[in-house]
């Protein structure tokens, strides 16, 4: 087998010829995209919608008594589909007409969703703009501030602090328990692990209000605990625990089995394998799970509404009486009949929105390294051994 001829033959067999490009050759011109619409197609698409808009304006604003933006948009949509159908039928067949009309419908649907999202964000920021211009809004509390006091008095510092304390406690409870459960489900498993996974997945369906009601009934009614930040943190924990456990479970399951086996084969104990191999490999995914859990928890109003109560002043002790939080402040403000309170609620909603956005961007940035490499799964079946061995 080790004669020189066979080695050369093998080498010939595996040799790959790479095409060489001359160094002074002009850079390759990108091929025109085959699926890209031609100029004529683009013109028919865009032109149909532009002409439909003009026609819709004439019809709704001049000819028919259908004034208002809503009618204009609806008629524009219908006419746009009609126009693109007509222009396409000049050159194309029936399938082309259907294709063009469907593409118009799909794009309009996406535009409607985008417009709704933008309108929600812009509306909240726009209505809450004025209180945000005063720096005291971020640091002061609302004690002694009446509903008609100007915006340079009072703020939501107490609500922000309350949210931070409640979330801190909730994370301190859920993070070890959630990741510990995920480790148990993936690394130990067994029949009991299946039971735990089933129950945890079932509990993600628990509506947040029911989680709040559970804590209210057990902690506050049965044990006589006061309504406090601690109770709110417990309610948030009950709600976040299944979410984090499940997300962490998904992340740990895609850690390549080869890494575990390599670590165990080198003589590491199972705990060291988990601590030094499995968890670091899954760190970005775990961070994402945590941050998304926090982003969910920070905006949850209903559990907090049942368990914490409203304070208008700074509360730093979570076990001592009522404590406000950001979503609760927004909710109370939005239900208030006073215009100024509503405006403050909108400002607080803007703060909450920015907070969620920041958490979300951080989650994305943390998750990026995991995203850059393709997700590897542990192979379900062993690959067929290749023939040449």
């Amino acid at each position: 087998m080790s004669t020189p001829t066979s080695t050369t033959q093998e080498r010939v067999k595996v040799a790959t010829h790479l095409p060489h490009r001359a160094l002074d050759a002009p850079p390759p011109v990108p091929r025109p995209g085959l699926g890209r619409p031609t100029a004529e197609e683009q013109f028919t698409t865009v032109g149909a919608w532009v002409s439909a808009f003009a026609l819709a304006w004439v019809i709704t604003q001049r000819l028919l008594p259908l004034g208002g933006v809503a009618w204009l948009l609806v008629v524009w949509f219908v006419l746009g589909l009609l126009m693109s159908a007509v222009t396409t039928s000049l050159t194309g067949r029936r399938v082309d007409v259907i294709d063009r009309v469907v593409s118009g419908i799909v794009t309009s649907g996406a535009v409607v969703v985008g417009a709704a999202l933008v309108s929600a964000v812009v509306f909240v920021v726009f209505r809450g703009w004025e209180p945000l211009m005063h720096l005291n809004f971020f640091v002061d509390d609302m004690s002694g501030v009446g509903p008609r006091d100007p915006f340079d008095r009072g703020g939501i510092g107490h609500a922000i602090l309350g949210s931070a304390i409640q979330l801190g406690i909730a994370v301190a409870v859920t993070l070890p328990l959630g990741i510990g459960t995920a480790v148990f489900m993936t690394e130990v498993g067994g029949r009991f692990g299946v039971v735990v996974r089933t129950i945890v997945e079932a509990m993600t369906a628990l509506p947040s209000i029911v989680a709040g009601l559970f804590v209210y009934t057990v902690l506050i009614v049965a044990f006589g605990f006061p309504r406090s930040g601690f109770a709110a943190a417990m309610a948030l924990s009950v709600m976040m625990l299944p979410i984090i456990a499940r997300a962490a479970d998904v992340v740990l399951r895609v850690v390549p089995g080869g890494l575990r086996e390599a670590s165990l084969a080198l003589g590491a104990s199972r705990w060291r394998t988990v601590w030094h191999v499995v968890l670091p490999t899954a760190r970005p995914g775990l961070a994402t799970a945590l941050i998304l859990g926090v982003a969910r928890g920070v905006g949850e109003t209903s559990p907090v509404l049942l368990t914490s109560g409203v304070a208008t002043f700074y509360v730093t002790n979570p076990t001592d009486g009522v404590m406000n939080s950001l979503p609760l402040y927004i909710f109370k403000g939005a239900r208030s009949p006073e215009a100024m309170d509503i405006e403050r609620a909108f400002a607080a909603a803007t703060v909450l929105l920015v907070l969620v956005l920041v958490l979300f961007v951080i989650a994305r940035l943390v998750a990026r390294p995991a995203r850059a490499r393709p997700p590897r799964r542990t192979p379900r079946a062993k690959p067929v051994p290749s023939q040449e061995s």
């Binding site: 809503a70 294709d99 593409s103 419908i105 799909v106 794009t107 649907g109 996406a110 409607v112 969703v113 985008g114 929600a120 209505r127 328990l177 959630g178 459960t181 480790v183 148990f184 489900m185 690394e187 130990v188 009991f192 692990g193 735990v196 129950i199 945890v200 079932a202 509990m203 369906a205 628990l206 509506p207 947040s208 209000i209 029911v210 009601l213 559970f214 009950v238 299944p242 456990a245 104990s269 199972r270 705990w271 988990v274 905006g299 109003t301 209903s302 979503p327 909710f331 939005a334 239900r335 509503i342 909108f346 909603a349 909450l352 929105l353 969620v356 956005l357 958490l359 979300f360 994305r364």
Partner: protein, 328 residues
């Protein structure tokens, strides 16, 4: 008689030493979480027993909630919950489907990741913000639209309102705070969730089959209809049901928008409706022990409904994904 063949080493899968500690520790954590999460379900079920034995099946059919008269029932709130979720899915399903199709098939490849992030971000926006959006921005317009529907389609029982549709000055208070208004805000909340599931399943369509359809001369819609939609059917159904599960349990936006009412009515445009979660949020404060048990029963029923819906959705989605492995 000593045998010269070596006896096979005894192998044991049983963990020893530190591994055993690790296994027991992990098991303990798992058991703790099982007790906590499972404890909630068990607690809710246990608390439901006195209520159900007291009121029997009437608890599900009785519409009034009058603790002082000892008449409690969740008939009206169940109907309200379903009608709000129904309105929400009426808006959310087509929009989620179209958006998912747009992102996976129509959008330029360059902006696709941005759009995916936007949908995820939309799902992360707290429900209180959609509630305020629905209450302060959308509700007046929704009321005007309700009036138009009432005037033109009022002969359908669904769209009738107990008010004069052609009054000189229309009575806006009859058209706000309805299941229709609440449904719009809830739709905004569940839309990104269903959209994300659908898009994920669409993006797993085997590219070979898509290219085959295009190579055979199909238009883009032809390709979508013959490859993407059949392949993603499980994702469409599962994503919709996941959204439905969320819509049924939504509290705060509903609580902000509706005017609470305890009447079974199919008239979704009319003022006054209620949902199980809004009932709990509205009535927990002044509840006695018996009423608390009744509220917990209502919560338990809600939990069971969402559990069934979510489990079905998860089964359907995972089944559709298992088909993704059969690409050639």
């Amino acid at each position: 008689m000593p045998s010269d063949r070596p006896t096979p080493r005894r192998l044991s899968r049983k963990a020893t030493g530190g591994d055993r500690v690790f296994e027991i520790g992990a098991r303990a954590v798992g058991a703790t979480v099982l007790v906590i999460t499972g404890g909630i379900g068990a607690f809710l079920a246990w608390q439901s027993v006195p209520t159900l034995s007291r009121y029997g099946w009437g608890f599900f059919t009785e519409s009034a909630w009058q603790p002082e008269a000892d008449v409690l029932g969740i008939g009206a709130v169940l109907v309200g919950t379903v009608s709000i979720a129904g309105v929400a899915m009426f808006f959310a399903f087509p929009l989620a489907l179209l958006t998912a199709l747009y992102i996976s098939e129509y959008a330029p490849a360059g902006v696709r990741p941005t759009l995916v992030s936007l949908v995820d971000l939309m799902a992360a926006v707290p429900s209180i913000i959609y509630g305020m959006w629905g209450y302060f921005l959308v509700m007046p317009h929704a009321a005007a639209f309700s009036l138009w529907l009432h005037q033109h389609l009022g002969w359908i029982p669904l769209f009738s309102v107990e008010a004069d549709p052609n009054a000189a000055v229309w009575d806006q208070t009859r058209y706000i705070g309805s299941a229709f208004c609440a449904g719009i805000a809830v739709a905004m909340m569940v839309l990104p969730m269903s959209c994300a599931v659908m898009r994920q399943v669409f993006s797993q369509t085997p590219p070979g089959e898509k290219e085959a359809a295009l190579a055979l001369g199909a238009t883009r819609w032809g390709m979508i209809r013959s490859v993407v939609l059949p392949f993603g059917r499980g994702g469409i159904i599962g994503g919709t049901m996941l959204g439905l599960g969320r819509a049924l349990g939504e509290t705060i936006a509903v609580l902000l928008i509706i005017s609470p009412d305890f009447v079974v009515k199919p008239r979704i445009l009319e003022v006054g409706t209620n949902s199980v979660s809004a009932l709990i949020a509205g009535r927990f404060g002044d509840a006695s022990a018996a009423q608390l048990s009744a509220l917990l029963t209502a919560g338990f029923v809600l939990f069971l409904i969402t559990l069934v819906v979510n489990t079905l959705a998860a089964v359907i989605v995972s089944r559709s994904r298992s088909g993704a492995g059969t690409d050639a």
